[in-house]
Symmetry: C2
DNA sequence: CCAGCTATGTTGACATATCATCAAAGCAAG
DNA sequence: CTTGCTTTGATGATATGTCAACATAGCTGG
C-alpha cells in the first residue's frame, strides 16, 4: 500500500466534512428533541410512516426506508410502541411480517415536528447555498453514494 | 411558522446527503475494524495523539481535537486504557488535569491503520471529485460549519 | 409432499453514547 | 485569605446501537 498521503487542501476538506457532518447531525437532533421531544431515530421512523398510504408500512419496507438493519429497527419500533407513537399489527399476506402503524399521537408528533425541522434544514443548508452550489452538491453526493452502494453490493 | 416546504430538488439533495453521510461513516468504520481492529472512536482519539508532540495530550486538548464532551471522552479513554492503547499520567501544571499518552501498542495500531484509512478516504471521495468540485465542497462545508459554530456559541 | 434454503423478525448480551451529578482544583473579587 | 464561581474530569444510570443466535414462515427443486 503506497501511502498516497492527503495534501493540505485534501486534509482541510476532509476535516471540514467530518466536522460539518457531526455538528449538523447533532444540531438537527437537538432541535427535534427540544421542539418535539423526538430523537433523530424517532423522526426517521415517523417520517416515512406519515407519508405512507394509511400511515402503515411493513417492517421490511420501513427498514428499507430508513436504511437500518432488522435488529436496530426492531428495537427502535418496540421502544416507540411503548411510548405510544406506533402500533403493530400482524401482516395479512405474510405470516412472518408485521405492520407498523402510526398512532394518532404519533401523527401528531411528526406533524408538529416537521415544520420546525424543515426550517432548520433550510437554516443550515439551503439558505446558505447558491443554485450552482446546490446542483454541484446533488451531483457529487449521488456520485459518491453510488460508489458506496456498488461496493456494498459487491462485498456482500 | 410558515411551512416553506422542500421542493423536489431540495428533498433530493437532502436525502442524498443523509444517505451519503450515514453510509460513508459506516464504510469508514467497517474498514478500520476489519483492517486494524479499531472503532471509529478509537481512531478519532489515536490520530490527534499520534500527531501531538511526544504522543501526549491533556484530556482537555484531546477533547477539543475530537469535538466530544468530557463524559464521552472519559469513558472512551478508560476503555482504550484497558485495552492498552493509551496510558494516563497526572498533569504537572494543573492538578485537575490528566495527560493521555499513546503506548507503543497504540502507536503501532494507528500507524498500521492510517495508510488503508487514507486510501479508503480517497476511494470514496477525492478519487471521484474534480478540482472544481473539490474547491466548491471546501468552500460550502466551511460556510455551513461556520453558521453551526456561530449558533452553538450563541445558544450556550 | 418434504428437505433444505432464504427471508423476516425477535431476543439477549454486549458496546457505546448521553445525561445528571459529583468532587476537586483553579481563579477572581472582596 | 476566603467565599463563591468556573474548569476539569469521573461516575453511574439510562438510552441506543451492534452482534450473534434463534424461531418461524415462505419458497424451490427433487
Amino acid at each position: 500500500m503506497a501511502a498516497r498521503w492527503l495534501d493540505e487542501d485534501e486534509a482541510r476538506l476532509w476535516r471540514a466534512y467530518r466536522v460539518l457532518s457531526g455538528e449538523l447531525q447533532r444540531a438537527m437532533e437537538r432541535q427535534l428533541e427540544r421542539d418535539a421531544g423526538l430523537s433523530g431515530a424517532d423522526y426517521a421512523v415517523l417520517a416515512p410512516l406519515s407519508e405512507a398510504e394509511g400511515g402503515v408500512l411493513r417492517m421490511r419496507e420501513l427498514g428499507r426506508a430508513v436504511g437500518w438493519d432488522r435488529s436496530r429497527l426492531s428495537h427502535q419500533v418496540r421502544r416507540m410502541q411503548n411510548r405510544g407513537l406506533v402500533a403493530r399489527e400482524e401482516c395479512a399476506e405474510d405470516a412472518r411480517g408485521f405492520m407498523v402503524r402510526l398512532t394518532d399521537s404519533g401523527r401528531e408528533a411528526v406533524e408538529g415536528a416537521a415544520p420546525e425541522h424543515v426550517e432548520t434544514v433550510r437554516r443550515y443548508s439551503f439558505d446558505l447555498l447558491s443554485d450552482r452550489e446546490r446542483a454541484t452538491l446533488t451531483r457529487v453526493f449521488e456520485r459518491l453514494g453510488a460508489r458506496l452502494a456498488q461496493d456494498a453490493k459487491e462485498h456482500l
